[in-house]
């Protein structure tokens, strides 16, 4: 059995942390959830993570700040941003700075699969 790709989810919203990893597992991925950017940075999952699903707005370090931090640490993890803010003006800048996509909550399973496919291809 081939090793499943690890997708890490970082979101301060508990319902996302509960539901999204379950769906990812159903889609055939391995999944881990973190409640903050800091928690993810302190974990040993960074090196194994093949795709990061990252909330934009969080208490403490925000999603874009984590993106910058990872780049500075030379971690080239493909990032799919998720945000509940429909008119998030950051979206173009996030894509420009290397994000695979930025999905607006609530997003469909299809949109998620498409974004993950692109992300894993980058690996």
């Amino acid at each position: 059995m081939a090793t499943r790709s690890l997708v890490s989810v970082v979101d301060d919203d508990e319902s996302v942390r509960e539901s999204l990893p379950d769906l990812l597992r159903e889609l055939g991925f391995s999944a881990q959830a973190f409640s903050s950017a800091e928690e993810f940075l302190e974990s040993d999952s960074i090196a194994r993570t093949q795709c990061l699903i990252l909330d934009v707005a969080m208490p403490g370090m925000s999603g874009p700040e984590l993106q910058r931090e990872l780049r500075q640490r030379h971690h080239r993890i493909p990032i799919v941003f998720i945000t509940a803010h429909r008119d998030d003006p950051l979206r173009p800048r996030l894509i420009e700075q290397g994000a695979v996509d930025c999905l607006f909550k609530p997003f469909s399973e299809t949109a998620l699969i498409e974004a993950l496919t692109v992300a894993l291809r980058l690996n």
Binding site: S15, P59, P106
Partner: protein
């Protein structure tokens, strides 16, 4: 009077009467004449006093006085010239037996020593007798002399008419066509006439003053919509001013009874008014407001104030005033409506800025719902189906659905305009609900929020949504004040505490601060320091807090920023909160750091 004179017996002398008998006859004749004169004077005086008492117009009375004198004293012409001391001038004079051309120049003549003998008499308060104006050196070359002579008159006797208090009210003037001085009989008549004239003028002026005063009072009552009344409780006698009749919409003069009064009282206020009436028997002061229903069905609000006095028999009699305060009450109601509308406008203007928060709050649980539903379908489609996993995801779907529903409920409450309601409000809980809706904005503005909520905060009584509007407004103001702050943490402290029987909520920011002298200006309507601000938020907030019998103020911090705070009277602890929404109560101090991503 002339007829009276014709009744004077003219006894023919007997051919055989002796000298003594002639003297006796003359004596008897003089006595008879004096008796007739006295009788005539008495009858004339009686007639004149009746004219005065019956309220005849002053010029009529004065003309009658002149004619009375002229009838009693042959060859005399009379004039009465009342004085208006505001001039001073002679005004409304009468001289019924002289031609109008004589009287015309006297009207409005200044009261001066050189104007006429009447002028000297009025100023000196003494009788002036000009026996022959033609030869009197004082009047030589005067216009007055020419005027008198032109009308064929020679002698002029002027006597001041004085009130009991000694004020000169006018002059009484007698003219003759030949040089003459007053005889004792004429002088007695002059004294009699000036006395009656003083009564007539005094009374006419008192009546005019009374009428003027009554007119002022009636006009003042009309303008202020205030009527006056008297009420003798024992026999239910009422004395109403015209305005009181107008307020009750009864015809002026209608005999008033308590039954008639109660007929006009609004059915819901009957109990109150009956109680006031019952207490009135003891002589308690009356101060009450009630509503009247007029015959056309409209409602009037009236304020009644009355004090009791007691007559000699110890009976209670009220003297009071009733004011129609309908316009006042309606404007208060309108003000309340405007306040409510302004609060609504303020909420709606906040709506645009809050849209992001709303979307955020709703999209979060929706995201969970959709993801869980997708997972659930996949779990059920698997071989074998993962029923336990599907059940768990379905349970989460339900939970997130309820969470979305709670968000919508809170929004509906906050943005639906409705009449103010009164309920027991937990200020901590209300604050939490507002914060739940503002989380996104706090994050975006990188605000470091600290909550210091008093666990044992008593509830307050008021309109929950209006109070939340105030808290939201203070929160948004604090965030706006810190927008340009980059050299220090954007720390925001929301604190609730007990304050001597009151509940205090303060919002302390680290923003641009405020000018201590201009702090009060912040609460003026349409005053704003914000670009694009409408300047109604704080004024509406203060209006809301004051309508809850509280106070709202702003003060600069010792360090950077400002603190806005309000206090409200604490309600009773045993009052249960009317509504407990799903928001969790934070009853302990905690830190929540939101670092925004928008910058």
């Amino acid at each position: 009077m002339k007829s009276a004179r014709t009744r004077v017996p003219r006894r023919k002398g007997s051919e055989t009467c002796a000298m003594s008998s002639d003297i006796e006859d003359r004596t008897r004749r003089d006595e008879a004449l004096r008796a007739v004169r006295a009788e005539t004077a008495l009858a004339g005086e009686k007639q004149l006093l009746e004219m005065i008492a019956s309220g005849r117009a002053l010029p009529d009375v004065l003309r009658a006085l002149c004619r009375f004198f002229e009838a009693a004293a042959a060859d005399c012409f009379c004039g009465v010239y009342p004085i208006e001391w505001s001039g001073p001038t002679f005004q409304n004079g009468v001289a019924p037996s002289l031609s109008p051309s004589y009287l015309a120049p006297v009207e409005g003549l200044p009261v001066r020593r050189d104007s006429a003998p009447c002028g000297i008499a009025a100023i000196e308060k003494t009788q002036v007798v000009v026996e022959d104006i033609d030869s009197d050196p004082y009047w030589a070359g005067s216009a007055y002399r020419a005027h008198v002579l032109t009308h064929g008159l020679r002698s002029v006797w002027s006597t001041p008419i004085s009130s009991l208090a000694g004020h000169v009210l006018g002059t009484f003037c007698i003219y003759q066509r030949t040089p003459a001085r007053p005889s004792p009989h004429q002088q007695a008549l002059i004294d009699q006439i000036t006395h009656i004239a003083s009564i007539a003028i005094d009374r006419a002026r008192s009546e005019a003053a009374l009428k003027r005063s009554e007119a002022y009072l009636a006009e003042a009552q009309k303008l202020s919509l205030t009527g006056s009344f008297g009420w003798r409780v024992a026999d239910d006698r009422h004395y109403w001013s015209d305005q009181t009749f107008r307020i009750f919409e009864y015809d002026v003069g209608t005999p008033i009874t308590l039954r008639l009064i109660l007929q006009r009282v609004h059915p819901q206020d009957l109990h109150l008014v009956r109680q006031v009436i019952a207490e009135a028997a003891d002589g308690c002061a009356i101060d009450c407001e009630c509503r009247l229903v007029t015959p056309d069905g409209s409602v009037k609000h009236v304020h009644i104030v009355a004090n009791a006095t007691r007559d000699r028999d110890g009976h209670v009699e009220y003297i009071g005033a009733i004011q129609d305060v309908t316009a006042h009450r309606l404007s208060e109601a309108a003000l309340g409506k405007v306040r409510s509308e302004l609060a609504h406008v303020a909420r709606v203007t906040s709506l645009g800025a809050l849209t992001a928060s709303i979307a955020h709050e709703v999209n979060q649980p929706l995201s969970g719902i959709i993801t869980n539903a997708s997972t659930c379908l996949r779990m059920l489609a698997a071989e074998p189906p993962n029923v336990e996993g599907a059940r768990e995801t379905a349970r989460r779907t339900l939970r997130d659905g309820n969470r979305a529903s709670d968000v919508i409920t809170r929004l509906r409450l906050l943005f639906t305009r409705r009449e103010a309601t009164t309920e027991s409000v937990d200020v901590n809980e209300a604050t939490q609900e507002v914060l739940a809706l503002s989380r996104m904005e706090l994050q975006q503005n990188r605000v470091l929020l600290r909550l210091e909520l008093d666990d044992a905060l008593p509830p307050v009584t008021g309109d929950r949504v209006q109070l939340q509007q105030v808290i939201l407004n203070l929160l948004r103001n604090a965030m706006d004040a810190m927008v340009g702050v980059d050299d220090r943490p954007r720390r925001l402290v929301i604190r609730t505490e007990r304050d001597d029987g009151r509940v205090r909520l303060s919002v302390q920011d680290a923003g641009i601060g405020l000018d201590p002298h201009g702090a009060e200006k912040l609460f003026e309507t349409f005053f704003t320091t914000k670009l694009g601000g409408m300047g109604i938020g704080l004024s509406v907030s203060r209006s809301i807090i004051e309508s809850h019998r509280g106070q709202l103020w702003a003060s600069p911090n010792d360090g950077p920023g400002a603190t806005f705070a309000f206090t409200l009277p604490a309600g009773r602890d045993d009052e249960p909160p009317a509504r407990a929404l799903a928001a969790a109560r934070a009853t302990h101090a905690r830190d929540a750091t939101y670092v925004g991503d928008a910058r």
